[in-house]
Symmetry: C2
Subunit: 315 residues, 2 copies
Amino acid sequence: MRAEATEAPLAALAAGGKLAFARALARVEEAPFASDTVALLQAAWERPRGVAIGLTGPPGVGKSTLASALVAAWRRLGRTVAVLAVDPSSPRTGGALLGDRTRLALDPEDEGVFVRSLAARDRLGGVAALCFPMLVLARALFDRVLIETVGVGQSETEIVDLADVVVLAVQPASGDTLQFLKAGIAEIPDIAVVTKADLGLVAERSARELEAALALAAPWAHRRPSVLRVAASRGEGIEALLAVLEERASQAAQRDPDRRRRQAERWVLRELEAEALRRLLRNLEHALAPIADRPFAGAAAMLAELDRLLPERQS
Amino acid sequence: MRAEATEAPLAALAAGGKLAFARALARVEEAPFASDTVALLQAAWERPRGVAIGLTGPPGVGKSTLASALVAAWRRLGRTVAVLAVDPSSPRTGGALLGDRTRLALDPEDEGVFVRSLAARDRLGGVAALCFPMLVLARALFDRVLIETVGVGQSETEIVDLADVVVLAVQPASGDTLQFLKAGIAEIPDIAVVTKADLGLVAERSARELEAALALAAPWAHRRPSVLRVAASRGEGIEALLAVLEERASQAAQRDPDRRRRQAERWVLRELEAEALRRLLRNLEHALAPIADRPFAGAAAMLAELDRLLPERQS
């Protein structure tokens, strides 16, 4: 882990190795707006060292195997890598979706690879709210930051609010193609990967369907996602994926120079909104009771109260 | 259209017929918190005359045909009916999903049936935010209020925030069963209807799959949704559906006496939150610019500003 950042807190962090980085991530998770954290994050945001790659796809598609293969390939190229593996859970059942998440097969002694699992379950705002500041910090210290998240519900779309490059993993013959089209997800990935390409004809047909679907969904040819076949367990297709990934990574800032600024702005505004709302409701708590009894009349009274706190126009 | 409500604005409305009701709905849509609207809605909420039935399901399942058959059946029973047909649109494309929505086949001269189409597209908060106050008004004036909405994305779950009884329509052999289980939707409907039951064996298999899926998803047997087969175009199964529907409708208030209060409270709080947030952002507008340049440092400054507007504790 090396750091080119010149500012003091970042340099100290870079010198501290993986343990210091793990502590800093915990601090960012706990208090992203504390003054020390804000200073660190602002410095990190101004000095991105690497590129953030989002890897998403349905449960069981083989994301962890793919992630392990990518990390190993990056290490062979001499790149440092941080992995943030996010485990979103069903908001309905509250249970974990990934009880037995396959562990990444990595060398724990390697100072050039950092892995952290994150539970997004109790976090309002989901994956993006949780990950964004950690990603900013990781991107200032590592060459590649891989955010791995299960594609359920909103998390596929949230990954766009986080990553510089998005990879979508698709299972052969899973009917995922149709689902992606339905959900409008085809607009999202930079790269689509059909996993388990050792399934031969089935995988090939899925890849062709995906290409056809993406061509329909993404008429802007220059932005159309690349479709690749990978059999990660055999190592097949990883080099080709890596080549496309590195090419996209090197173009990321150039293709959309404003993307990181927009992501940061969205994250900050969402966090501020949540905090503002929390305070507002606390300030209005005494006016809530009438709403249970007389909802519409109570709402009118509460709007009057709101007028007092936040007038329509303020000097 | 008769009204038992004793309060003046409701009585006047009931005497005005469908035209007056249409005008009142438009006023509610436009200004739900204006003092005249609030008085009307509060009176309507305190005097529910009928029962609100939500009808949802994927596009093409035959909801409009089913709705027409139900309305005709209710009219034969002498019940007055209001239909609110909501057209949510994809937030991604902005286009309408139901360009050629099948019109309900109803007698326009019948004063006992009112139909209104609603576009939820431009409405933040979606179907529930738009419909709830209109439903409250309709429920005070009609025996049955049918809210028809396409089941895409969140709208299936939103219908629970609106209706007293929820009917989910499912297409035979559509793979919907699996989707419902995935999305946790199986917890929602009071009644599940397999449409196009004239498809014979295919429809029968879908109904059995649905029953099995619901039994898995809803272990609480007393709350398990009924599964019915309907071929609305031939009128088959409508009487059986109507019988179950009327039974559920008559039990609605008794099974869950707090449901309407919770729905009203949720709607009011969501609307107030949206309004509060809008005002807050307007009040903080001058502090937004630094966030684009220095997102994290800017956020800290904005939190300080927020402290001034809404202190953590206020007397």
